[in-house]
Subunit: 204 residues, 2 copies
């Protein structure tokens, strides 16, 4: 997209430079494809800036989206070994988060999701990362596993310069209200409508 | 997005496996953010599969989207030096394409765009890549610099297994008609509406 000019200049007491560098809350929602892939595409830019990145995937299966994960792990290793780009932490809910996985424990997705949010909240307070991807985050919110008001308050009052991008269908209007950027990915046409299943390299 | 089940199974004489691996034509359009970033996010999956990737950016300025370009160049080097992932070719129109840039020549964007398409067409015939990103490709089509009927015919009849994703606003209906997947990125809210300009790590 062209960088363009803003349509209006707000009376918020900020200089253009301060406003330009204000950290953003972003939401990718809608029924179409591209919500998560666009979030990971943005993370490439963040990596190239050398920013610490934290990815938190609220998915039930550890098999999902392995393509991005592998690519970013490779990029994260480049940071560690050669100092190129930024450091990357990649956490996937699956059957429990990596930081607390208990062998043989029964999966409790509601508890896992709540635990994931507590960890993200802790990191936002500590300014652990500069760019956060909360992938498929709208679902645990919509299922009542994570309190939307807590999310809104935490994001609105996060310290420092931390960008947060969230993905998932049916984003809560409260989330959209505090977001700086909301994109609705609309499904116009999808291969599954024509009887095609997902395939490697495209869906994962 | 969950992998899910197709809504219907077409009577096209293909097995599920054949249908699953059918190469796709994809279009990311609409006025919202995320068209290109989602295309590059998909390219991460293709890279992880070891597929040869060709990126062709129909942009006028060489400064755009430098974040993705740097990240993919790094990934491409990993392929060359360590055999990880797939090979990447990244071409940007800017003031003439890399394969034909003439020092001191006046920029002729219409001729450059047409030349870019001729090269892509040649590569599609030769099956040079397995995953193509034609970034901002709708503009030279809409401006009449590239013939839409030629694009449609070439894509519909491309040999082998070559995925093609195209981005840009106002995709021609003929393009959408032959596409397997069309996503409309709708702008719900954008920081520029609130007087904020683009910033590093987010817009580039």
């Amino acid at each position: 997209m062209p960088q363009g000019q803003p349509e209006s200049v707000p009376d918020d007491g900020l200089t253009t430079r301060q406003r330009r560098n204000r950290a953003l809350v972003m939401v990718h929602t809608g029924d179409g494809k591209g919500k998560s892939t666009a979030a990971f595409g943005m993370a490439l830019r963040a990596w190239n800036q050398g920013w610490p990145i934290g990815v938190f995937q609220f998915v039930k299966s550890a098999k999902w989206k392995i393509g991005e994960e592998e690519a970013f792990k490779t990029l994260g290793e480049l940071h560690e070994t050669q100092g190129i780009g930024g450091p990357i932490e990649w956490h996937k809910m699956g059957s429990g988060w990596s930081w607390s996985r208990k062998a043989g424990a029964e999966a409790d997705h509601a508890a896992d999701a709540a635990e994931g949010w507590v960890e993200i909240k802790r990191r936002l307070h500590a300014e652990t990362h500069r760019f956060y991807v909360l992938d498929e985050f709208t679902y645990p919110i919509n299922w009542g596993w994570i309190d939307i008001d807590d999310v809104v308050e935490t994001l609105a009052n996060r310290p420092g310069s931390q960008h947060v991008v969230m993905t998932g269908r049916r984003a809560d209007p409260k989330l959209a209200a505090i977001a700086d950027l909301v994109t609705e990915m609309g499904k116009v046409k999808h291969p599954m409508d024509a009887g095609q299943k997902g395939q490697r390299g495209i869906e994962w």
